[in-house]
Symmetry: C2
Subunit: 439 residues, 2 copies
């Protein structure tokens, strides 16, 4: 059996490894257009900010490991040009070849949304969707004084943090009225106030053009102009499905339609990772959730099924964790706004609590829990200190379709330095009890 995998990121390499583990005699070939496999785009901000010194450290495994230890035939610098039944056309290091396949996986990831404004091809304007741009950003940032970051999603926020660590003046321009727009207003207000200590945060502003001679000199918005020598664009991503469209059905946000075995609409063709749709566990509906951990699991499940076994991917919660300077930021499931858009009648609690026993230093955490009118948990958002443990716990409860009673009664361990005898999660649950009329 010949298994072809397009894309050597998280999903592709997980699938390849799984197929070889279960079917060691099958031929598994990965075509990756960059020079790296299993690379770590989530690490780019840490490399740019200096926490990671060497660019090579970002790339999870060296290719020889996959080749020799796992027996995967990895082709880097190999761009697939066309996909047809049983055959691929590949530009493999400059040479065009064909490759036959019995089973195929699309693991082509996502690609950056372009702003589509005048001047965006000037030098000094960089999209950080691609691992290949990490070195460029770091090198260029070192030489300049003023950097504009366009977009304040996860990548924008983390890049802004990283670049302030290099001692540069950073302006962040966000078209929405708050940073990390997936969060509700109460949480975003805290993020905003932390960001404003370190960067010039411009909200509700739309970039209309970039200006400069050879190189970017300023960013123009509908409200002002921002001189800069470097602009980093992170305004979101879309599924990279150029090769797949026409061949297999597309679904939500034009990601590749898949079932729970990661099968596409066409026999023997699978999709996994950022190019594929999956189920949102909270809503039970198809969704597009381009995140690294789900991508790995989708790849794993695709690999098991491609190898002839059966495994179902239940979907994801869009669980996320990030940080800016002194605050951790996290979310699992739906925000209140997202829940309302999905048609839920919601009840929510926003609380601020210490994270430690009151007699120890600790810090503050701000939590928002969203539930429906029957008490079913829909989501958690948190910002402040010791956020990860609460988002982990909420992820588990959301995954298990838990309700507010479960949030109250789950026996979270108490240890004075990091938790409270009434954990902030439990306090939030109690708060929702009141709104639901639970005694």
């Amino acid at each position: 059996m010949k298994v072809a995998i397009i894309g050597g990121g998280a999903a592709g390499m997980s699938a390849a490894s799984r197929v070889k583990a279960l079917q060691p005699d099958w031929e598994v070939t990965v075509f990756e257009k960059s020079r790296w496999v299993s690379h770590a785009p989530c690490g780019i901000p840490f490399f740019v900010g200096g926490a990671v010194e060497k660019f090579d450290d970002l790339c999870a495994y060296d290719i020889e490991y996959f080749r020799h230890e796992r027996g995967i035939d990895v082709h880097t610098g190999a761009r697939v040009i066309e996909v047809d039944d049983g055959i691929l056309r590949v530009n493999d290091g400059g040479k065009e070849t064909t490759y036959e396949w019995d089973k195929l996986l699309f693991a082509t990831g996502s690609k950056a949304i372009k702003l589509g404004v005048e001047g965006e091809d000037l030098d000094g304007i960089i999209y950080v969707d691609d691992i290949e741009n990490a070195e460029r950003v770091k090198m260029e940032a070192a030489k300049v004084d003023n950097v504009v970051v366009v977009g304040s999603g996860y990548i924008g926020v983390e890049m802004a943090d990283a670049i302030t660590r290099l001692g540069k003046n950073v302006t962040v321009i966000e078209v929405m009225e708050r940073p990390l727009p997936e969060y509700d207003a109460e949480i975003a207000a805290i993020i905003k106030s932390e960001m404003e200590k370190y960067v010039n945060l411009r909200l509700s502003e739309r970039v209309t053009a970039f200006e400069g001679k050879d190189r970017v000199e300023k960013v123009i918005t509908n409200k002002g102009e921002y001189p800069c020598e470097l602009a980093i664009i992170a305004v979101g991503v879309v599924p990279n499905t150029d090769l797949a469209k026409g061949l297999v059905d597309l679904g939500v946000k034009r990601a590749i339609k898949t079932n729970s075995r990661m099968e596409t609409s066409r026999e023997n063709i699978y999709a996994a990772g950022d190019c594929a749709e999956s189920i949102n566990v909270v809503t039970g509906k198809e969704d597009w959730i381009p995140l690294a951990a789900p991508a790995n699991k989708m790849g794993y499940v695709a690999g098991v099924n491609m190898a002839g076994y059966e495994m179902h991917y239940p979907g994801s919660l869009k669980s996320q964790l990030t940080g800016f300077k002194n605050i951790e930021i996290g979310k699992a499931g739906l925000s209140e706004n997202e829940a309302i858009r999905q048609g839920y009648e919601v009840v929510s609690a926003f609380i601020t609590s210490r994270t430690s026993a009151r007699y120890l230093p600790g810090g503050l955490i701000h939590l928002k829990v969203v539930a429906d009118r029957k008490g079913k948990l829909l989501g958690l958002q948190a910002v402040g200190k010791d956020v990860a443990m609460r988002v982990y716990a909420a992820s588990a409860l959301l995954y298990k379709n838990g309700d507010v009673r479960d949030l109250f009664f789950t026996d979270f361990p108490y240890y004075p330095p990091v938790s409270r005898v009434w954990d902030p999660l439990v306090v939030a649950a109690r708060n929702i009890f009141r709104k639901l009329g639970v005694p």
Copy 2:
């Protein structure tokens, strides 16, 4: 209605607050033998070690708060002498009085197990079960050079940590073959090696006597002698049911038998906290789980039911979190040994993983997951760095009767500084997959 509550700790004050919140017109009286209510025995080691400066900071709320804000009639220094149908005899600040009640709650907590060896009444030998002893320990520890801690459960381990922070020589004597004997050997080995860097850890040794003229001078065991000027005894607790026995049925470990509404065998008498039994959510059986967070929730539930509403306490997981120097230590559910004793056929995975992406500093976590042969999760133990978030997550899954597949597929968020794209929990689940034949 007259509600009497015996004991002003976590369970008693939670119950009292709940009754007053739901039935503001009822008379709620708390009888507490010490000078404090809602005190924080879990904070004693932090006070002794110096992280908490003032003893008063350990006592959660001042009594006036409960009296005036919550309308609870709090009597401190009030020792209940006898309980009878509808009446209590109380030594209230030296004066004997009686008090009539319609509903009664036992929230009498636990008490220290005595060693029962020669010399244990010498000066300089202190049991730390009681908040009143915290100041004594701190004062005496300041004056001496050599301290022996007998017992290495949570309290023993935390006290040993605290006293080394005062620059004293500490010997810890444990009768079992490992410290924190509720943990399995793999986890205990790591705790042991951390403890041995700071204290003289004597395992499998039984204290047979204390010697000294007026004051303790040495601790004698079956294997040796340890000179010391202060000995702290923390060899466990038992339910404090002196007042209850004969009146209501006792259950597991002679804790007060309760149903899920925290009702005892006798009408209108309730029990909550360390004096009461409850359900172990993992086994579904009655158990005795004397911990602060469950005590608060039991009190809350007792209060709701005493107030005439209905709420059921589902039980606890015995979730625990502690630390020693540079390691966090945590557990939820059953260890492998405990599971075997409960009759489960177990499968387990012990793994060591970094806690951060490999390109960031992070640290190591050692995890053990225990499941039954069908994959049902039975417990998690962890030691090292970033333990709390994993024990929180495992607590949620155990509470929701999760299995290994849930542990694998729960969408834990990935953030390079504190987690991994394959979280250690997920790696452990995958490890159990292999043992269960999941592809």
